[in-house]
Structure formats: structure tokens, C-alpha cells
């Protein structure tokens, strides 16, 4: 096992990786930008190296500086977490070229799977069902029109290089195709530096169901069951659960086999996730492979009892998996809610700032993978995730009730968070009934507003605070520098370019 590893990330995921490393007797090195000098991952690590200016390109995306930090501290392996350089094959290769171990899949596998059309061809040849459509990119309008006729409308234009909804367009009718293709290609070009696009059949009302896989360097591949991740805003998941309310044992077995086949087709090593779209008839289609530890991995840990980071370290050290598919238990139900610094009342506008008070929820079946603390200033430069709240219970209703309780105990003051919104989401009749499709939030929560019934209790608390806590009276606020708040200055802006 490695004596020391460097974690090329920040926030909750860096802290989470360090915790397992510490349990394994592995020393940890944090890297940080100047704005993160007091960040929790820096405070948690055995040692920390400053990378430089806050801009990601100068810090968490700067491969050379990160590799130099590993060399300087004597770290033998690099864990990339998720985001930043986690799915960058050039970084994975540079780590190996520097004589270190990359805790993740080989660079060549990552590169293959990062190209969407190449991945589709790979899966097709491995017998994994793919969404009907093109398997190579094309920009010729005549050939696109021809392919579109074959696929049928409505269809989806996608960027070969991309993800996250960039360069994606739904086309309802042949007349719209040429213009939409041009737009999508230009958007893909500016987002990924590559304007290659392809066409896929558009699936109405699908679910997003993904399978966790583990593969060692000796050809052993297992899956750790599914995660249902249909609750998304702007193509980003905010609530995940396992098991999926849509799967029975037969479908689970079929999809699990497909996920293992996908990993084998790609020559996959380490932890990965095979994403599928599932339609109402129990037909499922390969979407993509995420070649990293997923944000939502803790729910899989909750139901299987396995520590995925521990498994990643064992695999990276060249050890074979110590169990087979039949050994992997599945027990109870787990839910994750992602807690971002953002305003659900206001189009999920980011809400950076100082956390004035934070109390972490606890108790039976509750886990908070957290990256912040009271007094921490949430920086403006990075993803607004603060932490992930996970609950486990013996069945789905109990897990929902436990999450409701845990969210109510999770106090964050000073920045806006979606905690109240998440509570409403998981208690909505459609969620409770398991009717979770990718359009769930758009359909049920587009006009969500906080519960005004709670406002008067908050007003009462204001008066009680002034009476009972005079030392911290609010009147001191008047003498401070008066930065106008966002809701005073909100005016002429809109999302995106």
C-alpha cells in the first residue's frame, strides 16, 4: 500500500478521501489555492502545498504544479477526486510519466470513453445496448438529414466531446435540423474546442439509472448495484437514491450484466460508473461511463457496506478484488441530497459568502460528507457544493423520513442553500410514489417558493434574539461596511451568455 498520497482536489471530496486514507494508515497531502488556505481539506490533511492563485487554471487544474507537489512531498500516488482533472487523460498520463500512480483508470481508457461516439462504438461491439443513432460524428447537412430520417423525430443533437448539456439540442421536426445542428456545433466548439456532433433518438420521460462498477488490474469486474439519479436541475443531479424504485430483481440483473460488459469492453480498471437511460418499458440504453469516483458514491457504500475509496486504493496498488459478485450484499435504502451554496428561489443562483453558523446533523443512519464549517468563507471560484447529506434506513419510506429529519437538523446560516427545497422534493407525492423521471423538477418544482407559514415563527425568533442575546444584537450591523445584498441589487442579469 502507498505510504502517502496526494489528493488533487478540494472541498468535501478531498476530506472524504483523506478520512479513508487515515483509516488505512496512508498519509495525505492536500493541495490548495490561496483562497483555500483555511479550507477544511487543508485542515484535515497531514500536510498541504499551496498551488497559487485561486483561478482553477493556476491551481486545481495546473497539472505540473500538482505533480511537482507530489514529488516534493514524497507522495507515491495521486487521487483526483471528481471534477477538475479527474477525467483528464493527459493528467492521468502525466502522473504515470512522473513515476507516480494515478488512482483511477488508465489514461488510454479514459480518452476512449471521453469521446462519446467512440464510446458508443465500443459499447455496441461489447453487446451493450446504445440509444439508436449515429456512431460517428458528422457535420455534412445532407448526411445528417439522412441519418435523422432513419432515427426518426424527435431526436437529440449531441457534442461528441462533451457533456453537461453543452452543444445539446432537441429537434422536433426535419425543418429545424440544419439550424439546430449549426448552433449545437458552434456551442460545442466554444465549450470543448471541438465542434463534432452526432444524432441520437430523443427518449421522452426517461429515468437516469447508473451502475457502480469496480474492476481490478487482473480482469475481475463486479458491479455494486444501481443509483437512481433522475432528480436533476440544469442536467445536474441533486437527489440520488438506491435501490431505484423502477428496478425489479430481473431488470437489475440484466442492467448489472450490461454494466460489467461495458467495463470489460473498455478494458476498465478502478472504480467507475456506467450511466444508462431507462424508459417506461424497461428498455435501457448506454449513456456514458464516468471514469471517476462519483459525487453520489456514498449511497452505494451505505447499501453494500463497502468503502469505495478503500477499494480504489487497493486496486491502484495492484491488488486483486477480495470478493466476487455473489459476495456483495445489498441492504436497506439510501438517499443523498446535495447541499450547494445556491438559491432555489432564484434559478439556483450561486450564493458564495461566509458561513455564519453551521450545525451538522447526526444520529442513526445519517452521514454528512462536508467541506465547510462555521466561519468558512465559501469562495466564488469553484463549484458551489458544500456537502452531501446521506441517510440510510431499512426501507425507502424510512430513508425518506430520516432524510427529512436530517435536513431539518442541518443548520447553515449566512449563505443560501436548497435545504428547505430538498425537503419539499423528497416529500412530494410524486417522489414518494417513486415517479422519478429526469423532468421531475421541471414538472413539479418550477414554481417552488419557501413555505410562508414559517415566516412568523422566524419573526418571533428575531424579537427573542434581541431580547435574549443582547451582546450579539443586530443593531451592530448598522456600523459595519454596508455591502448591499443580492436581493437588493438583483436587476438586470440573466443566466448564461
Amino acid at each position: 500500500m502507498f505510504e502517502k498520497i496526494l489528493i488533487a482536489n478540494r472541498g468535501e471530496i478531498a476530506v472524504r478521501i483523506m478520512r479513508t486514507a487515515r483509516e488505512m494508515g496512508v498519509r495525505t497531502v492536500a493541495v490548495y489555492s490561496t483562497v483555500d488556505a483555511q479550507a477544511l481539506h487543508v485542515l484535515t490533511a497531514d500536510e498541504a502545498v499551496c498551488l497559487g492563485d485561486p483561478e482553477p487554471a493556476q491551481s486545481y487544474l495546473h497539472s505540473e504544479k500538482i505533480i511537482a507537489a507530489a514529488k516534493q512531498t514524497g507522495a507515491k500516488a495521486v487521487h483526483p477526486g471528481y471534477g477538475f482533472l479527474a477525467e483528464n487523460p493527459a493528467f492521468a498520463q502525466a502522473v504515470v510519466d512522473a513515476g507516480l500512480t494515478f488512482i483511477g483508470p488508465p489514461a488510454s481508457v479514459m480518452a476512449q470513453l471521453g469521446d462519446k461516439t467512440q464510446a458508443r462504438r465500443l459499447m455496441q461491439s461489447g453487446g451493450v445496448p446504445i440509444i439508436p443513432g449515429m456512431t460517428s460524428a458528422d457535420d455534412d447537412p445532407a448526411r445528417l438529414a439522412e441519418a435523422a430520417e432513419e432515427i426518426g423525430y424527435p431526436l437529440l443533437i449531441k457534442a461528441a466531446a462533451g457533456g453537461g448539456g453543452k452543444g445539446m439540442r432537441v429537434v422536433q421536426a426535419p425543418g429545424e435540423l440544419a439550424a439546430a445542428a449549426k448552433q449545437a456545433a458552434s456551442e460545442a466548439k466554444s465549450a470543448f474546442g471541438d465542434g463534432a456532433i452526432y444524432l441520437e433518438k430523443f427518449l421522452a420521460k426517461p429515468r437516469h439509472v447508473e451502475f457502480q462498477i469496480l474492476a481490478d488490474a487482473h480482469g475481475n469486474v463486479v458491479h455494486l448495484y444501481e443509483r437512481e439519479c433522475s432528480i436533476q436541475r440544469r442536467h445536474q443531479k441533486i437527489v440520488e437514491e438506491t435501490p431505484s424504485p423502477a428496478l425489479d430483481d430481473a431488470l437489475r440483473a440484466r442492467m448489472g450484466e450490461a454494466a460489467v460488459a461495458a467495463a470489460k469492453a473498455a478494458g476498465y480498471v478502478n472504480a467507475g460508473t456506467v450511466e444508462f437511460l431507462l424508459n417506461g418499458d424497461g428498455e435501457f440504453y448506454f449513456l456514458e461511463v464516468n471514469t471517476r469516483l462519483q459525487v453520489e458514491h456514498p449511497i452505494t457504500e451505505a447499501i453494500t457496506g463497502l468503502d469505495l475509496v478503500r477499494q480504489q486504493l487497493h486496486i491502484a496498488a495492484g491488488e486483486p478484488l477480495s470478493f466476487t459478485q455473489d459476495d456483495i450484499p445489498r441492504r436497506g435504502h439510501a438517499i443523498e441530497c446535495r447541499i450547494y451554496a445556491e438559491d432555489p428561489e432564484n434559478n439556483f443562483l450561486p450564493s458564495p459568502g461566509k458561513i455564519l453558523f453551521h450545525r451538522e446533523p447526526t444520529g442513526p443512519g445519517v452521514r454528512l460528507d462536508n467541506g465547510v464549517y462555521t466561519g468558512f468563507e465559501v469562495p466564488v471560484q469553484y463549484d458551489p457544493i458544500l456537502g452531501k447529506l446521506v441517510t440510510w434506513a431499512e426501507d425507502r419510506p424510512a430513508a425518506i423520513a430520516r432524510m427529512t429529519r436530517a435536513l431539518s437538523e442541518c443548520v447553515i446560516l449566512g449563505v443560501k442553500t436548497p435545504i428547505e427545497y430538498l425537503r419539499a422534493v423528497i416529500n412530494a407525492p410524486a417522489f414518494v410514489a417513486g415517479e422519478t423521471y429526469t423532468d421531475f423538477l421541471a414538472e413539479h418544482f418550477a414554481d417552488w417558493r419557501p413555505d410562508v407559514d414559517a415566516d412568523n415563527a422566524a419573526r418571533l425568533a428575531y424579537a427573542l434574539h434581541e431580547t435574549l442575546a443582547p451582546a450579539a444584537a443586530i443593531t451592530t450591523g448598522e456600523t459595519r461596511r454596508e455591502a448591499p445584498s443580492p436581493w437588493q441589487t438583483l436587476g438586470h442579469w440573466h443566466l448564461g451568455k
Binding site: 483561478e55 451554496a341 443562483l349 450561486p350 458564495p352 459568502g353 455564519l356 453558523f357 466564488v380 471560484q381 463549484d383 458551489p384 431539518s408 437538523e409 443548520v411 447553515i412 446560516l413 449566512g414 443560501k416 428547505e420 425537503r423 419557501p450 414559517a454 415566516d455 412568523n456 415563527a457 422566524a458 419573526r459 418571533l460 425568533a461 428575531y462 424579537a463 427573542l464 434574539h465 431580547t467 435574549l468 442575546a469 450579539a472 444584537a473 443586530i474 451592530t476 450591523g477 448598522e478 461596511r481 454596508e482 455591502a483 448591499p484 445584498s485 443580492p486 436581493w487 437588493q488 441589487t489 438583483l490 436587476g491 438586470h492 442579469w493 440573466h494 443566466l495 448564461g496 451568455k497
Partner: protein, 172 residues
């Protein structure tokens, strides 16, 4: 004691009467409260309401008002009169100014001094936490100053682009 308290856009009067031993009565509109409260630790209040479940309350004062957490919900409660005074001092708030909605970094700048702009024209693109926002002209006019550069930080209230209103005031 009388308070005029603002939550979001909603303002309500609170009449609060402290009594012996942490007891109180209060009224907001039609709703009345009576009970007993104490502060067991900093940032925390425990409120036993007569005939209702107790409220566990967390508070954090800020320059903008008091952040309150109760029943799993966060609210920023502001003294409405003080907020009004502040807003009027700043000339009606920033809604008519080219300023970011949240602390951000400037990633693109299209406005130039001397440029004539129409209401809604894109002037500055800022980025916060991996999201981009386009700041647009709040009214028609001529750009008189550009107070930022690409790569610079910008906070709410910073006027990034100054515009002299067009004479005909086509501002709707």
C-alpha cells in the same frame, strides 16, 4: 415592543411583550404566540410555545439582518425600516445599475466608453461558481465609464459600467 420585519418581499408588524422569567407574548397579524424562551448556547434559542411543540431556533446576525433557522427553514429577517433607509440612501438600490447579483469574476467585457446602448444590451459577462451571468444595460444611453477589466473580481454594488441615460428617456 414593536418591530416591522421583512422576509423576502413580505413585511409584517410584530408586537412583542416580554414578561417574567423568559415568558413572552407576541402577535403578528392574526397569529399570536405565547410561551417561554431561553438561550442555552450561543446562536441557539429554545422556545417552548404554550400548547404547541417546542421550537429549536438557531440565529446568526449579519450586516443585512438576522439569519434565523427554525423548523428546518432558514430565513433572513430584516428590520424593514432600517432596510428602507439604506435603500433610499443608495438611490433606490442597485437594480438600475450594472452590478453582479453575487460576488463574481469578470470573464468578458463588451461595453466601451462612448458606446450607445439600448436597454437590454449585453455589457459584461461575469462568472460565479462555474456559472456565467450576462449583465445588461438597465436603460438606454451612452457608456461614460467602464470600471473593470476581464479577470477582475466584482461584488454586488460595484458599478461595473456607468451609463448616462439617453435624453428621450426610453427607459420603460
Amino acid at each position: 415592543m414593536q418591530y416591522k420585519l421583512k422576509i423576502g418581499e413580505s413585511i409584517a408588524d410584530l408586537e412583542f411583550t416580554p414578561e417574567e422569567k423568559g415568558r413572552f407574548t407576541a402577535r403578528v397579524g392574526e397569529e399570536t404566540f405565547a410561551g417561554q424562551a431561553h438561550a442555552p448556547q450561543p446562536h441557539r434559542l429554545h422556545v417552548q410555545l404554550d400548547g404547541a411543540p417546542a421550537l429549536d431556533v438557531y440565529t446568526a446576525p449579519s450586516a443585512e439582518g438576522l439569519w434565523v433557522w427554525t423548523q428546518g427553514r432558514a430565513r433572513l429577517v430584516q428590520d424593514a425600516e432600517r432596510t428602507e433607509r439604506r435603500t433610499s440612501r443608495r438611490g433606490g438600490g442597485g437594480a438600475k445599475e450594472v452590478t453582479p447579483p453575487t460576488p463574481a469574476t469578470v470573464v468578458a467585457l463588451t461595453a466601451e466608453v462612448g458606446q450607445r446602448v439600448a436597454k437590454g444590451d449585453a455589457l459584461v459577462v461575469v462568472s460565479a461558481m462555474k456559472m456565467e451571468f450576462t449583465l445588461t444595460a438597465p436603460y438606454a444611453g451612452e457608456v461614460t465609464a467602464v470600471n473593470t477589466k476581464v479577470g477582475e473580481k466584482a461584488n454586488p454594488g460595484d458599478i461595473l459600467v456607468e451609463i448616462a441615460p439617453a435624453e428621450e428617456q426610453s427607459d420603460g
